[in-house]
């Protein structure tokens, strides 16, 4: 079974596939990721692109489902272990390249993936929550169909998407959407320290 999977993966690796529109990760960056993290990392990005391609013409909920499922496959690891820092917001390339990350990294990767899939960013929020199960600070991605509707929670601990009312284990603390804040004052380059750092790393295509 394993051998079959490998065969399929390798065949995918050397297959020219065409995706309508801009690929999530361009070829040059993909090569760099391959050089840094290895061939399997590169394959993960192929699979990601495949996932995108599979839902690109579907509704928000399908896209949420696909993206949530894809990224929830990545293993959890603390920033201290991974980057030697107590708190670090990794770019989607670092997250998938390492195939590890903490709760913010899941949220970031899901957020940018959904934006790529043309889900309205104004519906997506980085939400600081308190997990009553783990009794520790946590972050989830929330999706608001309308500004006043009940949000859907995309969490890496509970892998399924639930409406907020069904997530009694989470206490919401603070919602945050960097793009919205940026949009509020276009002259200002700064809006949120962590978000600003992340934006910079994204521009530099940090892997």
């Amino acid at each position: 079974m394993f051998k079959l999977k490998m065969l399929i993966l390798l065949s995918l690796l050397f297959t020219n596939y065409a995706v309508a529109g801009e690929p999530y990760v361009d070829k040059a960056l993909l090569n760099e990721i391959g050089d840094k993290y290895g061939v399997f990392a590169k394959k993960r990005f192929f699979f990601l692109q495949e996932t995108f391609d599979s839902v690109k013409n579907k509704g928000d909920l399908e896209k949420l489902e696909a993206v949530n499922n894809f990224f929830n496959e990545v293993r959890y690891s603390s920033d201290m272990k991974l980057y030697g820092k107590s708190d670090y917001w990794a770019t989607p390339w670092e997250f998938l390249g390492n195939d590890k990350g903490d709760c913010e990294d899941y949220v970031i990767s899901k957020y940018f993936a959904l934006r790529h899939l043309e889900v309205d960013y104004k519906k997506l929020f980085f939400t600081y929550v308190r997990s009553t199960n783990f009794k520790e600070p946590h972050m989830v991605l929330t999706y608001f169909e309308t500004p006043k509707s009940e949000p859907l929670i995309l969490d890496n601990n509970n892998r399924k998407i639930f409406p907020a009312s069904q997530r009694k284990d989470l206490t919401p603390i603070y919602n945050f959407n960097g793009d919205m804040l940026d949009e509020a004052d276009k002259n200002n380059e700064k809006s949120h320290k962590k978000w600003d750092e992340l934006k910079l790393n994204m521009q530099r295509k940090k892997i």
Binding site: F125, K148, I173, A184, K190, S191
Partner: protein, 640 residues
């Protein structure tokens, strides 16, 4: 502009530009820091307030209270809360009332406080976006204080920097100053050798070059000095008796026979020794020479107490004694003593006193006589004496018909001094080579009223005799400096100051005060002429005068020069602009003597001026002797 000033200006400018740039950069940094701080404060408030607002569960009144509490406690320009559809829920805005900083500062510095935003939620629901902007009032105050601090610090740094720069430049350019001093001294014809050779190669080369040049010029001067001294011996001294000779007497006589001569007159005594041929046959030439030496000693001794007297051997057997200020009776008594002493010497030589004897002719001269008259009348007296019984004859001067008596003159002159009745007249001194006016010589007239006016030659002699000449000069010097408008044209004017006036005790003090108060404002250039007889003495008084004139940039000229000094170094110290001598002096000098004088004056940049040039013939003769600047009647005939 001096090199020091140029470098100082350049470096100062450079320093100030650097300091200004650093100041501007510092201020810009401070400005940016303040603006960042404004944003950070706003951002912190936005985040913390948005978290607080989340606890209000969407209750607008609660959220407004929270916003008010924050707004009132801090420095904010506005805090605004909009809902998810960007509809205004609540806002607070303040109007800045900046009075702590000047308006120009506010218009110069555009300070924008960035707006910080934060999402506000209530539980899982979105409430909206909170915007916070800090108030710039405090930032302006802070920036203004920073600017003032920066300006003070940079002014202090600039002052310290400029002072340090000044000291540094002085130290670095010190050798150049020395070089400049030496160059300036050369321009002033001073012979300064710089022993301290600068370390900088270029400057060292310049100093060595100048030292070399100065040494050569000094050597030329010394050579001229030595030659002139040697010629003076030949020109003016009788080689047998070491008395002065006829030429000396002729050259010196103009100083005794002039309107403003120091003495009204005196007696010229001619002593002739008869029977010298016989004496030579009897005693031999050497012994007769010894006899003349003894007679010369007698003559020297006899006149040593008579001030300004001249003893000269005018030919092989005749001597002349010019005795200024000597009365006829004193002169006759002196003549008898001299005759007696000569007789004793003749007797001692065992010569026949009937064959060998001294005849003495005396002529009582007046300062108004001319040289020819004095000599011919003296000769007459001697001829008479030779046939007289006692071999002494006195020829008195004609008693001139005096227009005014001594007392009348005294009264008139005193009145003129008191009432300011003197006026200046000027005579041109012309450089015939360049055909230009060299300068004007000032003289004075005494004008009592429309009908009564007296020239210098008329009133000066009685003034000297009455002891009023110093008073007159005090008056006219005062007029020259205080009332300079009397001399109309802007030119160079020379004023001759006589011996008597300069030696007067009060003169130096008066002149010092006059120059201090007026010298800087004179509309013309002044040359003060001093008598050679006085300046070559190198007295303390003369040094003080020279120092005084130099201090006020007044040039010095020398008059009555006949080159009788033992050393001409005084010319080097004095550095007059010109030397004036009688035209007869220049014409009778030997070529060697004149050339030696030229060597001295050329190395020192001194012009030679002939005075008393009366006709074109004399002028041409002077030109042939390379004397081109002239003073005298002939200048009226010249066109310039």
């Amino acid at each position: 502009m001096t090199l020091f000033k140029q470098i100082a200006l350049m470096l100062s400018l450079f320093l100030l530009i650097i300091l200004a740039t650093v100041l501007i950069l510092n201020f810009q940094n401070a400005n940016k820091g303040v603006q960042d701080r404004l944003y950070e404060d706003a951002k912190n408030t936005a985040t913390s307030l948005s978290l607080s607002l989340g606890t209000a569960n969407g209750d607008l009144s609660m959220m407004s209270t929270m916003i008010n509490a924050n707004f009132d406690s801090g420095n904010y320009h506005h805090i605004t809360l909009v809902d998810v559809e960007k509809k205004n829920l609540y806002d607070r805005v303040t109007e800045s009332d900046i009075i702590a900083v000047p308006k120009w500062f506010m218009s110069l510095i555009e300070l924008k406080a960035p707006i910080a935003h934060a999402n506000v939620s209530a539980g899982w629901s979105q409430v909206g976006i909170l915007s916070v902007q800090s108030d710039t009032t405090y930032a302006y105050k802070q920036l203004y204080a920073i600017l003032i601090d920066l300006l003070i610090s940079f002014t202090i740094i600039a002052l310290i920097g400029l002072a340090a720069l000044n000291l540094l430049l002085h130290a670095v350019l010190k050798p150049l100053k020395e070089v400049q001093k030496q160059a300036a001294a050369i321009t002033r014809n001073e012979f300064i050798i710089q022993n301290k050779i600068p370390y900088t190669k270029e400057l060292a080369d310049v100093v060595l070059g100048m030292n070399n040049m100065v040494s050569k010029v000094k050597a030329m001067f010394d050579k001229g000095n030595e030659e002139l001294k040697a010629h003076k011996e030949l020109e003016y001294v009788d080689q047998d008796t070491q008395l002065r000779n006829r030429k000396y007497l002729i050259d010196r006589l103009p100083a005794y026979l002039k309107a403003d001569a120091s003495y009204e007159g005196g007696v010229n005594m001619l002593i002739s020794l008869s029977g010298i041929i016989e004496a030579n046959e009897k005693l031999g030439r050497q012994n007769v020479n010894k006899l003349f030496l003894k007679i010369a000693d007698v003559l020297r001794d006899s006149t040593k107490n008579i001030k300004d007297s001249i003893v000269a051997r005018i030919n092989g057997t005749e001597f002349s004694l010019l005795l200024p200020n000597c009365s006829d009776s004193q002169a006759i008594e002196l003549a008898k003593k001299i005759q007696q002493s000569c007789q004793e010497i003749i007797n001692l030589a065992e010569l026949d006193s009937k064959e060998t004897f001294a005849s003495i002719g005396l002529y009582e001269y007046k300062h108004s006589d001319n040289i020819a008259k004095l000599l011919s009348r003296s000769d007459n007296a001697l001829t008479q004496a030779k046939f007289n019984h006692g071999n002494i004859h006195l020829e008195k001067a004609e008693s001139a018909v005096e227009v005014m008596g001594k007392e009348a003159w005294k009264l008139l002159i005193n009145k003129a001094i008191e009432k300011d009745r003197f006026s200046f007249v000027s005579w041109s001194v012309i450089d015939t080579k360049s055909k230009k006016l060299s300068h004007n010589v000032l003289s004075i007239n005494l004008t009592l009223d429309k009908n009564s006016s007296y020239s210098y030659a008329q009133f000066m002699a009685p003034a000297i005799q009455s002891g009023l000449s110093s008073g007159i000069y005090k008056k006219i010097v005062d007029m020259l400096f205080r009332n300079s408008s009397m001399v109309l044209s802007v030119s160079t004017y020379a004023l001759r100051l006589p011996h008597e006036y300069l030696e007067n005790q009060e003169t130096y003090k008066n002149l010092s005060e006059l120059l201090r108060a007026n010298a800087a404002m004179l509309p013309f250039k002044v040359i003060i002429e001093l008598p050679d007889r006085l300046v070559r003495q190198d007295s303390k008084l003369i040094r003080e005068y020279i120092e005084l004139f130099r201090k006020y940039n007044i040039s010095i000229g020398i008059f009555e020069f006949i080159g009788e000094s033992d050393d001409y170094k005084y010319l080097q110290d004095l550095r007059p602009v010109y030397i004036k001598g009688e035209s007869s002096y220049f014409l009778t000098q030997s070529d060697q003597s004149l050339s030696a004088l030229r060597l001295i004056t050329d190395t020192l940049g001194i012009a030679l001026i002939a005075v008393g040039v009366a006709d074109i013939e004399t002028l041409e003769k002077l030109k042939n002797r390379d004397i081109h600047i002239i003073q005298g009647k002939v200048t009226e005939m010249l066109e310039i």
